[in-house]
Protein backbone atom coordinates (compact mmCIF):
# COMPACT_ATOMS: atom_id res chain seq x y z
CA UNK A 1 0.00 0.00 0.00
CA UNK A 2 2.75 2.27 1.08
CA UNK A 3 4.83 1.91 -2.09
CA UNK A 4 1.76 2.01 -4.30
CA UNK A 5 0.58 5.22 -2.89
CA UNK A 6 4.06 6.71 -2.97
CA UNK A 7 4.53 5.83 -6.64
CA UNK A 8 1.10 7.24 -7.41
CA UNK A 9 1.95 10.48 -5.69
CA UNK A 10 5.24 10.55 -7.55
CA UNK A 11 3.34 10.26 -10.82
CA UNK A 12 0.99 13.05 -9.87
CA UNK A 13 3.94 15.19 -8.90
CA UNK A 14 5.55 14.64 -12.25
CA UNK A 15 2.31 15.55 -14.00
CA UNK A 16 2.08 18.67 -11.87
CA UNK A 17 5.69 19.53 -12.54
CA UNK A 18 5.15 19.17 -16.27
CA UNK A 19 1.94 21.22 -16.12
CA UNK A 20 3.77 23.80 -14.09
CA UNK A 21 6.57 23.98 -16.62
CA UNK A 22 4.07 24.38 -19.45
CA UNK A 23 2.24 27.03 -17.48
CA UNK A 24 5.43 28.90 -16.74
CA UNK A 25 6.47 28.63 -20.34
CA UNK A 26 3.17 29.88 -21.71
CA UNK A 27 3.04 32.67 -19.14
CA UNK A 28 6.60 33.74 -19.88
CA UNK A 29 5.94 33.70 -23.60
CA UNK A 30 2.74 35.69 -23.17
CA UNK A 31 4.42 38.21 -20.90
CA UNK A 32 7.37 38.52 -23.26
CA UNK A 33 5.08 39.03 -26.24
CA UNK A 34 2.97 41.56 -24.40
CA UNK A 35 6.08 43.39 -23.23
CA UNK A 36 7.43 43.53 -26.76
CA UNK A 37 4.13 44.71 -28.15
CA UNK A 38 3.81 47.30 -25.41
CA UNK A 39 7.23 48.70 -26.24
CA UNK A 40 6.39 48.67 -29.92
CA UNK A 41 3.12 50.51 -29.30
CA UNK A 42 4.83 53.07 -27.09
CA UNK A 43 7.48 53.65 -29.70
CA UNK A 44 4.89 53.98 -32.42
CA UNK A 45 2.84 56.37 -30.29
CA UNK A 46 5.85 58.65 -29.79
CA UNK A 47 6.54 58.60 -33.52
CA UNK A 48 2.89 59.23 -34.37
CA UNK A 49 2.69 62.06 -31.84
CA UNK A 50 5.61 63.78 -33.53
CA UNK A 51 3.89 63.27 -36.85
CA UNK A 52 0.65 64.69 -35.44
CA UNK A 53 2.47 67.79 -34.24
CA UNK A 54 4.03 68.42 -37.62
CA UNK A 55 0.81 67.62 -39.47
CA UNK A 56 -1.15 69.89 -37.15
CA UNK A 57 1.31 72.66 -37.85
CA UNK A 58 0.92 72.06 -41.58
CA UNK A 59 -2.85 72.08 -41.16
CA UNK A 60 -2.71 75.30 -39.21
CA UNK A 61 -0.65 77.00 -41.90
CA UNK A 62 -2.91 75.66 -44.60
CA UNK A 63 -6.00 76.81 -42.71
CA UNK A 64 -4.49 80.24 -42.33
CA UNK A 65 -3.75 80.42 -46.06
CA UNK A 66 -7.24 79.22 -46.89
CA UNK A 67 -8.81 81.73 -44.52
CA UNK A 68 -6.84 84.52 -46.14
CA UNK A 69 -8.23 83.51 -49.51
CA UNK A 70 -11.71 83.22 -48.01
CA UNK A 71 -11.42 86.73 -46.62
CA UNK A 72 -10.19 87.98 -49.98
CA UNK A 73 -13.06 86.26 -51.74
CA UNK A 74 -15.54 87.74 -49.33
CA UNK A 75 -13.98 91.13 -49.88
CA UNK A 76 -14.26 90.77 -53.66
CA UNK A 77 -17.83 89.52 -53.35
CA UNK A 78 -18.66 92.50 -51.16
CA UNK A 79 -16.42 94.75 -53.20
CA UNK A 80 -18.98 97.45 -53.89
CA UNK A 81 -20.19 97.61 -50.33
CA UNK A 82 -16.70 97.54 -48.83
CA UNK A 83 -15.58 100.36 -51.09
CA UNK A 84 -18.62 102.30 -49.94
CA UNK A 85 -17.96 101.40 -46.31
CA UNK A 86 -14.35 102.67 -46.42
CA UNK A 87 -15.39 105.67 -48.53
CA UNK A 88 -18.08 106.61 -46.01
CA UNK A 89 -15.76 105.98 -43.07
CA UNK A 90 -13.15 108.22 -44.66
CA UNK A 91 -15.55 111.14 -44.96
CA UNK A 92 -16.82 110.62 -41.40
CA UNK A 93 -13.21 110.83 -40.21
CA UNK A 94 -12.65 113.82 -42.49
CA UNK A 95 -15.58 115.61 -40.82
CA UNK A 96 -14.15 114.86 -37.39
CA UNK A 97 -10.73 116.07 -38.50
CA UNK A 98 -12.21 119.30 -39.89
CA UNK A 99 -13.97 119.87 -36.57
CA UNK A 100 -10.73 119.47 -34.66
CA UNK A 101 -8.91 121.82 -37.03
CA UNK A 102 -11.62 124.47 -36.94
CA UNK A 103 -12.02 124.21 -33.14
CA UNK A 104 -8.26 124.52 -32.64
CA UNK A 105 -7.90 121.05 -31.10
CA UNK A 106 -4.92 120.42 -33.37
CA UNK A 107 -2.17 122.50 -34.91
CA UNK A 108 -2.83 120.88 -38.26
CA UNK A 109 -4.61 122.72 -41.05
CA UNK A 110 -6.36 121.39 -44.14
CA UNK A 111 -5.64 122.13 -47.79
CA UNK A 112 -8.14 121.27 -50.53
CA UNK A 113 -6.38 121.25 -53.89
CA UNK A 114 -8.90 122.04 -56.62
CA UNK A 115 -8.51 121.96 -60.38
CA UNK A 116 -11.07 123.68 -62.59
CA UNK A 117 -12.36 123.56 -66.16
CA UNK A 118 -11.05 120.12 -67.16
CA UNK A 119 -10.84 117.48 -68.32
CA UNK A 120 -7.76 118.33 -70.36
CA UNK A 121 -5.41 116.28 -72.48
CA UNK A 122 -2.73 116.83 -69.86
CA UNK A 123 -4.89 116.16 -66.81
CA UNK A 124 -3.29 112.75 -66.36
CA UNK A 125 0.05 114.46 -65.62
CA UNK A 126 -1.55 116.20 -62.65
CA UNK A 127 -3.06 112.90 -61.58
CA UNK A 128 0.41 111.35 -61.74
CA UNK A 129 1.83 113.99 -59.39
CA UNK A 130 -1.08 113.55 -56.97
CA UNK A 131 -0.55 109.78 -57.10
CA UNK A 132 3.13 110.21 -56.44
CA UNK A 133 2.44 112.27 -53.31
CA UNK A 134 -0.62 110.17 -52.42
CA UNK A 135 -2.66 113.36 -52.13
CA UNK A 136 -6.41 113.55 -52.82
CA UNK A 137 -7.81 116.55 -54.68
CA UNK A 138 -11.01 117.89 -56.23
CA UNK A 139 -11.68 118.38 -59.94
CA UNK A 140 -14.45 120.73 -61.05
CA UNK A 141 -15.12 119.53 -64.54
CA UNK A 142 -17.18 120.63 -67.50
CA UNK A 143 -19.12 118.56 -69.98
CA UNK A 144 -16.86 119.00 -72.96
CA UNK A 145 -17.21 116.02 -75.25
CA UNK A 146 -20.12 117.27 -77.35
CA UNK A 147 -18.84 120.82 -77.46
CA UNK A 148 -15.44 119.72 -78.70
CA UNK A 149 -16.86 117.31 -81.25
CA UNK A 150 -15.71 114.18 -79.39
CA UNK A 151 -12.17 114.93 -80.50
CA UNK A 152 -10.63 114.20 -77.13
CA UNK A 153 -13.39 111.99 -75.86
CA UNK A 154 -11.32 108.91 -75.17
CA UNK A 155 -8.69 110.91 -73.31
CA UNK A 156 -11.38 112.61 -71.25
CA UNK A 157 -12.89 109.23 -70.61
CA UNK A 158 -9.62 108.01 -69.11
CA UNK A 159 -9.26 111.18 -67.04
CA UNK A 160 -12.76 110.86 -65.57
CA UNK A 161 -12.15 107.22 -64.72
CA UNK A 162 -8.84 108.00 -63.10
CA UNK A 163 -10.19 110.90 -61.05
CA UNK A 164 -13.01 108.73 -59.73
CA UNK A 165 -10.90 105.59 -59.48
CA UNK A 166 -8.16 107.32 -57.46
CA UNK A 167 -10.46 108.60 -54.75
CA UNK A 168 -10.47 112.24 -55.82
CA UNK A 169 -13.66 114.24 -55.72
CA UNK A 170 -15.29 115.07 -59.01
CA UNK A 171 -17.22 118.32 -58.87
CA UNK A 172 -19.66 120.04 -61.18
CA UNK A 173 -18.58 123.26 -62.92
CA UNK A 174 -21.61 123.52 -65.24
CA UNK A 175 -21.72 122.02 -68.72
CA UNK A 176 -20.41 124.92 -70.82
CA UNK A 177 -18.76 127.47 -68.48
CA UNK A 178 -20.05 130.11 -70.88
CA UNK A 179 -19.78 133.54 -69.31
CA UNK A 180 -21.13 136.86 -70.53
CA UNK A 181 -24.26 137.61 -72.52
CA UNK A 182 -26.48 134.61 -73.18
CA UNK A 183 -24.23 132.51 -70.93
CA UNK A 184 -24.82 130.37 -67.88
CA UNK A 185 -25.78 133.32 -65.67
CA UNK A 186 -28.39 134.68 -68.07
CA UNK A 187 -31.12 133.01 -66.04
CA UNK A 188 -31.51 130.79 -63.01
CA UNK A 189 -33.12 128.11 -65.20
CA UNK A 190 -30.21 128.17 -67.62
CA UNK A 191 -27.70 127.81 -64.82
CA UNK A 192 -29.52 124.95 -63.11
CA UNK A 193 -30.10 123.16 -66.40
CA UNK A 194 -26.35 123.33 -67.07
CA UNK A 195 -25.65 121.87 -63.64
CA UNK A 196 -28.23 119.12 -64.15
CA UNK A 197 -26.95 118.40 -67.65
CA UNK A 198 -23.38 117.93 -66.40
CA UNK A 199 -24.50 115.89 -63.40
CA UNK A 200 -26.49 113.56 -65.64
CA UNK A 201 -23.61 113.27 -68.10
CA UNK A 202 -21.22 112.12 -65.35
CA UNK A 203 -23.82 109.86 -63.74
CA UNK A 204 -24.77 108.15 -66.97
CA UNK A 205 -21.21 107.57 -68.09
CA UNK A 206 -19.38 106.88 -64.86
CA UNK A 207 -22.07 106.06 -62.30
CA UNK A 208 -20.73 108.86 -60.13
CA UNK A 209 -23.02 111.45 -58.56
CA UNK A 210 -21.52 114.90 -58.13
CA UNK A 211 -22.76 116.86 -55.14
CA UNK A 212 -20.19 119.64 -54.92
CA UNK A 213 -19.96 122.46 -57.45
CA UNK A 214 -18.11 125.66 -58.16
CA UNK A 215 -19.52 128.70 -59.93
CA UNK A 216 -17.58 129.43 -63.13
CA UNK A 217 -15.64 132.60 -62.42
CA UNK A 218 -16.51 132.29 -58.73
CA UNK A 219 -19.85 132.91 -57.03
CA UNK A 220 -19.66 136.75 -57.28
CA UNK A 221 -19.82 136.36 -61.07
CA UNK A 222 -23.42 135.22 -60.64
CA UNK A 223 -24.28 138.73 -59.45
CA UNK A 224 -27.92 139.19 -58.57
CA UNK A 225 -28.65 135.60 -59.67
CA UNK A 226 -26.54 134.21 -56.84
CA UNK A 227 -29.29 134.00 -54.20
CA UNK A 228 -31.97 132.42 -56.42
CA UNK A 229 -29.38 130.02 -57.86
CA UNK A 230 -28.17 128.78 -54.47
CA UNK A 231 -31.77 128.35 -53.42
CA UNK A 232 -32.18 125.96 -56.36
CA UNK A 233 -28.82 124.29 -55.70
CA UNK A 234 -29.97 123.41 -52.18
CA UNK A 235 -33.06 121.74 -53.62
CA UNK A 236 -30.98 119.50 -55.87
CA UNK A 237 -28.47 118.65 -53.13
CA UNK A 238 -25.42 120.63 -54.17
CA UNK A 239 -22.86 122.29 -51.94
CA UNK A 240 -20.72 125.00 -53.52
CA UNK A 241 -17.30 126.47 -52.87
CA UNK A 242 -15.16 129.38 -53.99
CA UNK A 243 -11.47 129.59 -53.01
CA UNK A 244 -9.20 131.46 -50.63
CA UNK A 245 -5.92 130.60 -52.32
CA UNK A 246 -4.82 130.37 -55.95
CA UNK A 247 -1.74 129.91 -58.09
CA UNK A 248 -3.19 132.59 -60.34
CA UNK A 249 -2.87 130.33 -63.36
CA UNK A 250 -6.28 131.46 -64.62
CA UNK A 251 -4.85 134.87 -65.43
CA UNK A 252 -1.53 136.06 -66.79
CA UNK A 253 1.01 133.28 -67.30
CA UNK A 254 3.57 133.51 -64.55
CA UNK A 255 6.59 131.35 -63.78
CA UNK A 256 6.19 128.13 -61.79
CA UNK A 257 8.03 129.81 -58.92
CA UNK A 258 5.54 132.69 -58.91
CA UNK A 259 2.61 130.25 -59.00
CA UNK A 260 4.16 128.36 -56.12
CA UNK A 261 4.79 131.51 -54.08
CA UNK A 262 1.28 132.81 -54.76
CA UNK A 263 0.06 129.82 -52.79
CA UNK A 264 2.79 129.27 -50.23
CA UNK A 265 3.34 132.94 -49.29
CA UNK A 266 -0.35 133.66 -48.84
CA UNK A 267 -1.64 130.87 -46.64
CA UNK A 268 -1.83 133.36 -43.71
CA UNK A 269 -2.56 130.55 -41.27
CA UNK A 270 -5.90 129.86 -42.97
CA UNK A 271 -7.19 126.67 -41.40
CA UNK A 272 -9.26 125.44 -44.35
CA UNK A 273 -7.30 126.41 -47.44
CA UNK A 274 -9.08 125.96 -50.77
CA UNK A 275 -6.49 126.28 -53.52
CA UNK A 276 -7.69 127.13 -57.03
CA UNK A 277 -5.66 125.77 -59.92
CA UNK A 278 -6.28 124.62 -63.49
CA UNK A 279 -5.13 121.33 -64.92
CA UNK A 280 -4.31 122.97 -68.25
CA UNK A 281 -1.41 125.00 -66.89
CA UNK A 282 2.11 123.75 -67.63
CA UNK A 283 3.58 126.00 -64.98
CA UNK A 284 1.10 124.86 -62.34
CA UNK A 285 2.09 121.31 -63.19
CA UNK A 286 5.75 122.21 -62.65
CA UNK A 287 4.92 124.04 -59.40
CA UNK A 288 2.58 121.37 -58.04
CA UNK A 289 5.18 119.17 -56.29
CA UNK A 290 6.65 122.16 -54.47
CA UNK A 291 3.18 123.45 -53.62
CA UNK A 292 2.30 120.08 -52.08
CA UNK A 293 5.59 119.82 -50.19
CA UNK A 294 5.42 123.46 -49.06
CA UNK A 295 1.86 123.16 -47.78
CA UNK A 296 2.72 119.93 -45.98
CA UNK A 297 5.68 121.72 -44.36
CA UNK A 298 3.29 124.43 -43.20
CA UNK A 299 1.24 121.76 -41.44
CA UNK A 300 -1.44 121.21 -44.05
CA UNK A 301 -3.15 117.87 -44.44
CA UNK A 302 -4.78 117.25 -47.82
CA UNK A 303 -8.44 116.35 -48.15
CA UNK A 304 -10.78 116.12 -51.12
CA UNK A 305 -13.88 118.30 -50.90
CA UNK A 306 -17.17 116.69 -49.94
CA UNK A 307 -20.76 117.75 -49.47
CA UNK A 308 -20.64 118.05 -45.68
CA UNK A 309 -17.20 119.68 -45.60
CA UNK A 310 -16.88 122.83 -43.52
CA UNK A 311 -15.18 124.41 -46.52
CA UNK A 312 -18.40 124.08 -48.51
CA UNK A 313 -21.47 126.33 -48.59
CA UNK A 314 -24.80 124.59 -48.44
Amino acid sequence: METKSSSASKGIRIVFAVLLLIFIGVSAYTIFTMYNKTRQFEFETIYTSDLIISEEKKLEELTEKRDELLAEKEEIMNYGSSVKAYHDQFFELAKEFENRVVNGQTDKKIAYLTFDDGPYRMSYKFLNVLDEYDVPATFFYLKKCEEEGFRDEWIYDEVYKRVIGSGHTLGNHTASHQLGQGGIYSSVERFISEIEDNRKFIEDRYGYTTEVMRFPGGSPTAGSRYEPIVEELRKIHYAWVDWNSATGDGGRVLSPQEFRDNVLDNTNGIKLLVVLMHDYSDNTLIALPEIIEGLADQGYYFLPLFYDSQAMNR
Binding site: S9, I12, R13, F16, L20, F23, I24, S27, T30, I31, M34, Y35, K37, T38, R39, F41, E42, E44, T45, T48, S49, L51, I52, E55, E56, K58, L59, L62, T63, K65, R66, L69, L70, E72, K73, E75, I76, Y79, S82, V83, Y86, H87, Q89, F90, L93, A94, E96, F97, R100, K108, D134, P136, G165, S166, G167, Y301
Partner: protein, 89 residues
Amino acid sequence: MLRKTIILEIILAIVLGAVAYGFYVDYAKAFKENQAAADRLAEVRLEEAQTEKEYRELDEELSSLRESVDLKILEIWKRRVAQLQKELE
Protein backbone atom coordinates in the same frame (compact mmCIF):
# COMPACT_ATOMS: atom_id res chain seq x y z
CA MET B 1 4.06 16.65 0.65
CA LEU B 2 1.81 16.57 -2.37
CA ARG B 3 -0.48 19.10 -0.86
CA LYS B 4 2.44 21.34 -0.13
CA THR B 5 3.55 21.12 -3.76
CA ILE B 6 0.08 21.88 -5.01
CA ILE B 7 -0.23 24.87 -2.73
CA LEU B 8 3.18 26.11 -3.85
CA GLU B 9 2.25 25.68 -7.48
CA ILE B 10 -1.03 27.51 -6.97
CA ILE B 11 0.83 30.37 -5.31
CA LEU B 12 3.31 30.43 -8.19
CA ALA B 13 0.44 30.47 -10.68
CA ILE B 14 -1.20 33.37 -8.87
CA VAL B 15 2.06 35.30 -8.79
CA LEU B 16 2.63 34.63 -12.46
CA GLY B 17 -0.95 35.61 -13.23
CA ALA B 18 -0.53 38.84 -11.32
CA VAL B 19 2.68 39.63 -13.14
CA ALA B 20 1.04 38.83 -16.46
CA TYR B 21 -1.93 41.02 -15.56
CA GLY B 22 0.42 43.87 -14.73
CA PHE B 23 1.98 43.55 -18.14
CA TYR B 24 -1.45 43.30 -19.69
CA VAL B 25 -2.56 46.56 -18.11
CA ASP B 26 0.50 48.31 -19.58
CA TYR B 27 -0.13 46.64 -22.88
CA ALA B 28 -3.76 47.70 -22.97
CA LYS B 29 -2.82 51.26 -22.08
CA ALA B 30 -0.14 51.42 -24.76
CA PHE B 31 -2.52 49.88 -27.26
CA LYS B 32 -5.22 52.42 -26.48
CA GLU B 33 -2.82 55.34 -26.72
CA ASN B 34 -1.39 54.00 -29.94
CA GLN B 35 -4.86 53.66 -31.37
CA ALA B 36 -5.86 57.15 -30.25
CA ALA B 37 -2.72 58.64 -31.79
CA ALA B 38 -3.33 56.80 -35.05
CA ASP B 39 -6.95 58.00 -35.10
CA ARG B 40 -5.88 61.59 -34.42
CA LEU B 41 -3.28 61.43 -37.17
CA ALA B 42 -5.84 60.12 -39.62
CA GLU B 43 -8.22 62.86 -38.54
CA VAL B 44 -5.61 65.60 -38.98
CA ARG B 45 -4.60 64.23 -42.36
CA LEU B 46 -8.19 64.11 -43.52
CA GLU B 47 -8.77 67.65 -42.38
CA GLU B 48 -5.54 68.66 -44.07
CA ALA B 49 -6.60 67.06 -47.33
CA GLN B 50 -9.95 68.83 -47.15
CA THR B 51 -8.38 72.19 -46.36
CA GLU B 52 -5.86 71.69 -49.15
CA LYS B 53 -8.69 70.95 -51.56
CA GLU B 54 -10.60 74.03 -50.43
CA TYR B 55 -7.46 76.12 -50.76
CA ARG B 56 -6.81 74.93 -54.32
CA GLU B 57 -10.41 75.54 -55.35
CA LEU B 58 -10.43 79.00 -53.80
CA ASP B 59 -7.11 79.87 -55.39
CA GLU B 60 -8.43 78.90 -58.80
CA GLU B 61 -11.68 80.76 -58.26
CA LEU B 62 -9.88 83.85 -57.01
CA SER B 63 -7.47 84.07 -59.92
CA SER B 64 -10.41 84.79 -62.20
CA LEU B 65 -12.23 86.89 -59.59
CA ARG B 66 -9.19 89.08 -59.06
CA GLU B 67 -9.18 89.92 -62.74
CA SER B 68 -12.84 90.86 -62.72
CA VAL B 69 -12.48 93.72 -60.24
CA ASP B 70 -10.07 96.58 -59.83
CA LEU B 71 -9.13 96.47 -56.18
CA LYS B 72 -7.13 99.69 -56.41
CA ILE B 73 -9.91 101.99 -55.23
CA LEU B 74 -10.60 99.77 -52.21
CA GLU B 75 -6.91 99.89 -51.27
CA ILE B 76 -6.92 103.66 -51.67
CA TRP B 77 -9.87 104.19 -49.33
CA LYS B 78 -8.45 101.73 -46.84
CA ARG B 79 -5.12 103.53 -46.87
CA ARG B 80 -6.75 106.96 -46.57
CA VAL B 81 -8.89 105.77 -43.66
CA ALA B 82 -5.79 104.43 -41.92
CA GLN B 83 -3.91 107.70 -42.54
CA LEU B 84 -6.75 109.83 -41.17
CA GLN B 85 -7.20 107.54 -38.18
CA LYS B 86 -3.50 108.00 -37.43
CA GLU B 87 -3.91 111.74 -37.80
CA LEU B 88 -6.84 111.69 -35.36
CA GLU B 89 -5.07 109.63 -32.69
